[in-house]
């Protein structure tokens, strides 16, 4: 699995310079969704809840950084830490309030949170320009001699962000904090009685998830050169959920596979655009009913048939 990952990373670095601009754009879009799906994957797979307000975290980072740049003259790089701190702080606050709730209650309240954020963005027209949105949003300024104003340059920035996110989450779930999170997901009551502060670990999980969503959010403005509240509706969050479920809940690679399946392939094969939502919804239902492990589960099933050596691996996963 690891060698496969390294091989894939090398391909993702080496091949794009030889690709058509449209395909580089498509690859950036896929990886960007990969970042969002990764952030949802942490909530879904390691806290065990659905966050229908995930797009709000993306929106807050996107708007905060873009407003700092447009209104106060910050550079992309100096606005980024401010925007991320804001998102993580807000996630901690939201988490402290909402993560006491479980299952449908958490899902419904986060949906409410997402709507509140979208309504504020839509209605606070003096600041956000309302439904018309913010534009134009310039590409990030060059840093250490690296330039991001070409499709290819920006692609590498997205790729690097994805790698950083992936590395951070991989470390998190291997660290004690991550294993405590998994224990809480498995059995909240028992986790409490073996000495794990339950709420704290859920909040930490949500903060990490918001951090990753925020990292993606920083990039979405420059990527689209435009920010509007309509980009961050419920369906954006649900798209992330579908990617995670199709790829495989409870893994880090799953959300990325999901993004490839649901962003890259339909576009590259120029799948009928009108049918995309039906496909998303239908896949969500079919995969949940018949293939709860997602694509990863399917691959792993195949692998365990080949060799039964990977038995212990399954343990951290649901």
């Amino acid at each position: 699995m690891r060698t496969l990952g390294v091989l894939l990373a090398i391909l993702l670095i080496a091949v794009p310079p030889f690709m058509a601009e449209y395909h580089v754009y498509l690859l950036s879009l896929t990886l960007l969704w990969g970042i969002f799906a990764l952030s949802m994957g942490l909530v879904l797979g390691f806290i065990g809840e659905i966050n229908f307000g995930q797009a709000a975290f993306v929106a807050i980072a996107a708007y905060a950084s873009s407003l700092l740049r447009l209104k106060l003259g910050f550079s992309f790089w100096s606005a980024a830490p401010v925007a991320l701190a804001l998102v993580v702080g807000l996630a901690a606050l939201v988490g402290l309030i909402t993560l006491r709730l479980r299952g449908p209650f958490f899902a419904l309240v986060t949906l409410g949170f997402g709507e509140i954020v979208r309504l504020i963005i839509t209605n606070w027209q003096d600041l956000t320009n309302g439904p018309l949105g913010l534009r134009p949003i310039a590409p990030p300024e060059s840093l250490f001699g690296l330039r991001f104003d070409s499709k290819l340059g920006f692609y590498y920035l997205v790729f690097a962000t994805l790698c950083v996110s992936l590395a951070a989450l991989a470390r998190l779930i291997r660290a004690r904090t991550g294993r405590m999170m998994i224990a809480v997901r498995e059995d909240e009551v028992l986790a409490g009685f073996v000495g794990i502060p339950v709420l704290r670990h859920k909040v930490i999980g949500l903060c990490f998830s918001a951090l990753v969503a925020g990292l993606g959010g920083l990039l979405i403005g420059p990527f689209l050169t435009l920010l509007a509240p309509g980009q961050f509706d419920l369906f954006a969050s649900v798209d992330m959920v579908v990617m995670v479920v199709v790829g495989g809940v409870g893994t880090l690679a799953g959300p990325l596979i999901g993004a490839v399946f649901l962003v890259f392939m339909p576009e590259a094969l120029s799948f009928a655009r009108e049918l995309r939502p039906v496909m998303m919804g239908g896949l969500l239902i079919i995969v949940t009913i018949f293939l709860p492990g997602g694509v990863i589960g399917l691959l792993r099933h195949g692998l365990t048939r080949l060799s039964s050596a990977g038995r212990g691996r399954l343990a951290v996963l649901r």
């Binding site: 879904l44 065990g48 809840e49 659905i50 309030i97 909402t98 006491r100 709730l101 479980r102 299952g103 449908p104 209650f105 899902a107 419904l108 309240v109 949906l111 409410g112 949170f113 709507e115 509140i116 309504l119 504020i120 839509t122 209605n123 419920l234 369906f235 649900v238 959920v241 579908v242 479920v245 009108e274 049918l275 939502p277 039906v278 998303m280 919804g281 239908g282 896949l283 969500l284 239902i285 949940t288 009913i289 709860p292």
Partner: protein, 285 residues
């Protein structure tokens, strides 16, 4: 002015309550949160419109037929996508109904297009009491809501199937132990929920317009209402609907129209913090 606003708020609240009844009923009976419930309202409105146009019926004659169709559709949804996962995790139930939301919405767009359509209830004119004005159409909504609530209560407390439904809602395993066919009872709850969705959707469609996007606003309202009133509680949905309708009308006209939904969401979050089971919800361990 205030009297008019209060009246508007109550009428709006009745619409919301109507839109939330079937949603909360399903949760009460089967612990299923149907995220696609708003789309079922939309579907109900279209089915009513189809029946009206297809059979040349008046609105109030077409409605019961449409409700029967939607009841059947709702049972089909239960059998095909909800039942396979109902004994697995809560998360999976949320996932399949979320998927359904996409499918229904997009099917409607594909079949009927996005242009809004008018649906005539065949009732014009207004009722005037002093300074307060209420269009007959809206009055009908309030009356229908009351009639459906009355019917629902009669069913729950006086009919065998309603009593079985309450038994299943209170204790699934206990109900099974005394020989109730839980699966059949839950199917019945889905049927009722589908019929209620159809009634709510048709009335909303007649008041405003029928289009594939019409389900999302009432869906969000329903969520707020049932969480405020208590998820799974029928009286909670009614009280919640009225409170939210009033809050929205009053804050919308006296504080800020654009932010009126923010106030109702804040109300919901406040309730969750103070009383997580909602105003009239039963505490669950």
């Amino acid at each position: 002015m205030l009297a008019q606003q209060l009246t508007n708020g109550l009428v709006l609240g009745s619409i919301y309550a109507l839109a939330s009844l079937g949603f909360t009923l399903i949760y009460g009976a089967a612990r299923v949160v149907n995220f696609a419930y708003g789309e079922m309202l939309m579907l109900g409105a279209f089915v009513t419109l189809m029946v009206m146009n297809g059979l040349g019926l008046e609105f109030f004659l077409a409605l019961p037929l449409a409700m029967a169709v939607m009841a059947a559709a709702s049972v089909a949804i239960y059998l095909v996508i909800v039942r396979p996962v109902i004994r697995r995790t809560e998360l999976q139930v949320l996932l399949v109904t979320t998927g359904l939301l996409y499918v229904l919405h997009d099917m409607a767009v594909t079949i009927w297009g996005t242009d809004p359509r008018q649906m005539d209830m065949g009732l014009d004119g207004v009722l005037e009491i002093g300074d307060v004005i209420v269009p007959y159409q809206r009055l009908v909504v309030v009356v229908t809501m009351l009639a459906l609530v009355g019917g629902l209560y009669f069913m729950l407390y006086h009919l065998r199937v309603g009593k079985a439904l309450r038994a299943v809602a209170q204790n699934r395993f206990g109900a099974q132990a005394i020989g109730l066919n839980v699966d059949r009872v839950v199917s019945f709850a889905f049927a009722v929920s589908g019929a209620l969705a159809c009634a709510a959707g048709a009335l909303l469609g007649a008041l405003y317009a029928v289009d594939p996007g019409m389900g999302s606003a009432p869906m969000l309202k329903s969520f707020v209402i049932v969480i405020f009133g208590g998820l799974g509680s029928v009286p909670g949905a009614i009280v919640g609907g009225l409170v939210i309708g009033l809050t929205e009308t009053l804050t919308g006209s006296y504080i800020s129209y654009g932010f009126k939904d923010v106030f109702t969401f804040l109300l919901m979050i406040g309730m969750l913090l103070l009383r997580p089971q909602g105003l009239l919800g039963a505490r669950r361990s």
